[in-house]
């Protein structure tokens, strides 16, 4: 190889490198570039109650018991409304605590609350700032269900899982939608993994931004998944109001069994839940 050739070769490499940087740089930016929107708060709970206080019944309703078939997922816990399972910590957070204790015939107790019948909204931004629990078989979730679940049933009502996590993988969260023809194992889902970190070490903001054409999933304002109407191989059932749910399940088909090595109690600490609509 003579000098001129070497030079051109190097130039070629540098050029391609530059090109690569430009293309990849843009691609990611493109994905993160979102339409300017201005949000208007429509509903929130900041959980600023006294220590031991129960959730505000004007905003939240409890799911109590073991549900039908472990809430449809073979979950192990009994959901109660006791402060031992759900209450304010007096420091601006609500804490859901999963305990390893025989309670009302179940081996574990925990809590699940929802805004069903109290608040529901179609479209907008739904976000929660929280610290997740951990340990094999622990399954925390911040999610939405279509308000028409009572009449049309699941999965026709639609389900948007803003944040789910398997406690044996405390560094990975999952954003998912379930609807008719794409539910359970066939749901549309994507994960976001932290590198050299995990979600239970500090607070993170989990959010969706949802309009008539798409649902965007965020962690700490990083867009990791966009599901567009055209991506859905089935009926798009996301043009009606959805209500909010928060819970910590123990066991179940999604997460597997807790083991003797699962540390208990486990807490999900929620700083706030806020819902916005687009300002027009």
């Amino acid at each position: 190889m003579n000098t001129i050739n070497t030079f051109s070769y190097m130039r070629l490499i540098s050029f391609s490198l530059l090109f690569l940087i430009i293309t990849f740089g843009c691609k990611r930016d493109e994905f993160q570039k979102l339409d300017q929107r201005s949000w208007e708060l429509t509903w929130s709970d900041e959980f600023n109650g006294e220590e031991g206080e129960s959730p505000d019944t004007l905003k939240w309703a409890f799911d109590i018991g073991t549900g039908e078939g472990g809430w449809g997922n073979q979950e192990f816990q009994y959901y109660s409304d006791r402060p031992e399972n759900i209450s304010m910590d007096g420091e601006g957070n609500m804490v859901i605590t999963a305990r390893n204790e025989p309670f009302a015939g179940a081996a574990f107790s925990s809590a699940r609350i929802k805004t069903q019948g109290l608040f529901a909204q179609a479209y907008g931004r739904f976000e929660a700032r929280m610290k997740t629990p951990y340990g094999p078989g622990i399954w925390p979730a911040f999610w939405l269900l279509g308000s028409n679940i009572e009449t049309v049933g699941w999965p026709q009502c639609g389900e948007i899982d803003i944040m789910e996590l398997r406690g044996q993988e405390p560094h990975i969260i999952h954003g998912t939608i379930h609807g008719p023809g794409y539910s359970g194992g066939n749901a549309i889902t994507k994960s976001n993994a932290l590198i050299n970190n995990r979600y239970d070490k500090d607070f993170h903001v989990f959010a969706i931004e949802w309009d008539k054409d798409k649902i965007d999933f965020f962690v700490d304002d990083y867009l990791y998944q966009r599901i567009e109407k055209s991506d859905v191989n089935g009926e798009w059932v996301y043009d009606q109001p959805f209500f909010i749910l928060l819970n910590v399940a123990v066991g179940g088909t999604y997460v597997g069994f807790p083991t003797s090595q699962t540390p208990f109690p486990q807490t999900m600490v929620i700083d706030y839940v806020r819902v916005y609509k687009e300002k027009i």
Binding site: H171, N197, P263
Partner: protein, 466 residues
């Protein structure tokens, strides 16, 4: 001298001047940079990392460790192979040793030691860890009872407080004995320190997390034990790490009552109350020791019998004969615990939560046929109430020299509250002839103390004399 040389000379001159300016003046200690040590994270990837040595533990099979080219993790070139010997193998009783450096490494940027392990059979490796430098092993950390099987598995040992490991020489150590008396082989590969970032929720404890309250005296020293650190691993499960005291910072609430050093050794120096607590890496440890010091300790009377006329079981004044134990923890009925202490070099037995306790001396038994008296010094720190009873039983094991066999004889003497004193030493000096049912004292094997309404007392100077 031509111009070039002149220029060069001037150049050098200015450099020299600069050097004088920089180094010539008085040395400023602030300019001294601390010595830094290499941060190489590798211990054994495909071979010994730079500077690594191996030494087998005493009593272990010195050839237990070798480098293996056949069984390796992920088809790497070489692994570490450990052959655990059978029980009674003449080469050594177990496999164990240390991988160490002559000069330290700075491991403060990592949060775990990790490695892959597999074994020729399912087994439980007794202990693996790091921080053993064949010397002080100041920052030793280890995991006990590692479950291994015939598949390669990755293990993580969290570093308790990485900021301490600025010049660590102990890179890895292990110790493993036979499984069900039989030896086997295990392999370890890809041993390295890592910054995982996924180790979370550290919890530390002293005294196994208990809040203990103890009455004591000035001059008593005791060690804070039960040190544990628990970490949550990347798979959400917890791992307990055995840690050395140097990882903790110990604190005394009142240094005029008790001091505590870097190694968790408490010295009681005054009277009143002091609480000993600890932190690690700025996180408070569970557990505490509250010392209620009653001030100066009253020593037991110093025995004055000539040593040649004494067979001593427990005394700092004499050489004691072999004793199996001073507390047999006889289950299931015994509630007595021991809180023995040392005060200004004097060892004292302390029985707490007392109902009865056995002191056994069976190997060999004691022939006290030439002796005439039993001496026991006793101190009861709490007031005595009317129902308090104390009993001393002497047991002779008979011709077979062992408990049972139908040849044991014994006799119990009872002392009621009137013959006991509190907050002072009571010296029992009992003629052996008072133990009327004791038909022999050629094979004495046990002294048993028993009591009612006597929760706590100290004992010193237990011996037979003539």
């Amino acid at each position: 001298m031509n111009t070039n040389i002149l220029i060069r000379f001037i150049k050098h001159l200015s450099l020299a001047v600069l050097l004088v300016i920089a180094f010539g003046c008085e040395r400023d200690l602030n300019d001294l940079k601390p010595v830094t040590y290499p941060t190489n994270p590798e211990v054994f990837i495909d071979d010994f990392s730079a500077g690594l040595n191996y030494a087998a533990f005493g009593g272990s099979d010195p050839k237990a460790f070798s480098v293996d080219k056949e069984v390796t993790y992920n088809n790497s070139i070489q692994s570490m192979r450990f052959e655990v010997p059978d029980l009674n193998d003449p080469r050594g009783a177990y496999a164990g040793g240390v991988f160490y450096l002559e000069t330290g490494r700075d491991l403060s940027g990592y949060d775990a030691l990790t490695f892959w392990v597999k074994a020729s059979q399912a087994a439980t490796i007794n202990i693996v860890g790091f921080g053993n430098d064949l010397g002080e092993s100041r920052y030793q950390a280890s995991v006990s009872n590692l479950l291994v099987n015939t598949n390669w598995k990755k293990f993580i040992i969290p570093i308790p407080d990485p900021s301490k490991l600025k010049m660590e020489r102990g890179m890895f150590f292990y110790s493993e004995g036979p499984e069900n008396d039989r030896g086997y082989t295990f392999w370890i590969d890809e041993v390295k320190f890592e910054k995982l970032g996924t180790i979370a929720h550290p919890q530390h404890a002293i005294l196994n997390g208990e809040d203990r309250v103890e009455s004591s005296f000035a001059g008593v020293s005791k060690a804070i034990d039960g040190l544990i650190s628990i970490y949550n691993l990347p798979d959400g499960t917890n791992r307990a790490v055995n840690v050395t005291p140097a990882y903790f910072k110990f604190i005394s609430s009142d240094e005029s009552v008790a001091t505590v050093d870097d190694f968790g050794k408490v010295m009681i120096i005054g009277s009143d109350t002091a609480v000993i607590t600890a932190t690690m890496g700025g996180i408070a440890a569970d557990g505490s020791l509250t010392i209620q010091s009653m001030g100066a300790y009253l020593n037991a009377p110093t025995p004055e019998h000539a040593p040649e006329n004494v067979i001593s079981l427990f005394s700092d004044a004499y050489t004691n004969v072999p004793v199996d134990y001073y507390n047999g923890y006889w289950q299931p009925w015994q509630t007595t615990l021991s809180a023995d202490f040392e005060v200004n070099g004097d060892h004292v037995l302390n029985y707490t939560n007392f109902n009865f306790v056995g002191i056994q001396f069976s190997s060999p038994t004691i022939n006290a046929t030439q002796m005439t008296h039993l001496r026991v010094d006793m101190y009861i720190p709490n007031p005595i109430n009317a129902g308090t009873v104390f009993k001393i039983q002497l047991v002779d094991f008979g011709a077979n020299g062992a408990p049972g066999g139908g040849d044991d004889t014994s006799f119990t003497l009872t002392f009621n509250s009137a013959s006991l004193i509190s907050q002072d030493w009571k010296s029992f000096d009992i003629p052996l002839s008072s133990f009327t049912g004791l038909s022999s004292r050629a094979q004495l094997g046990q002294i048993i103390f028993e009591g009612t309404n006597l929760p706590n007392f100290y004992v010193d100077n237990i011996y037979f004399r003539k």
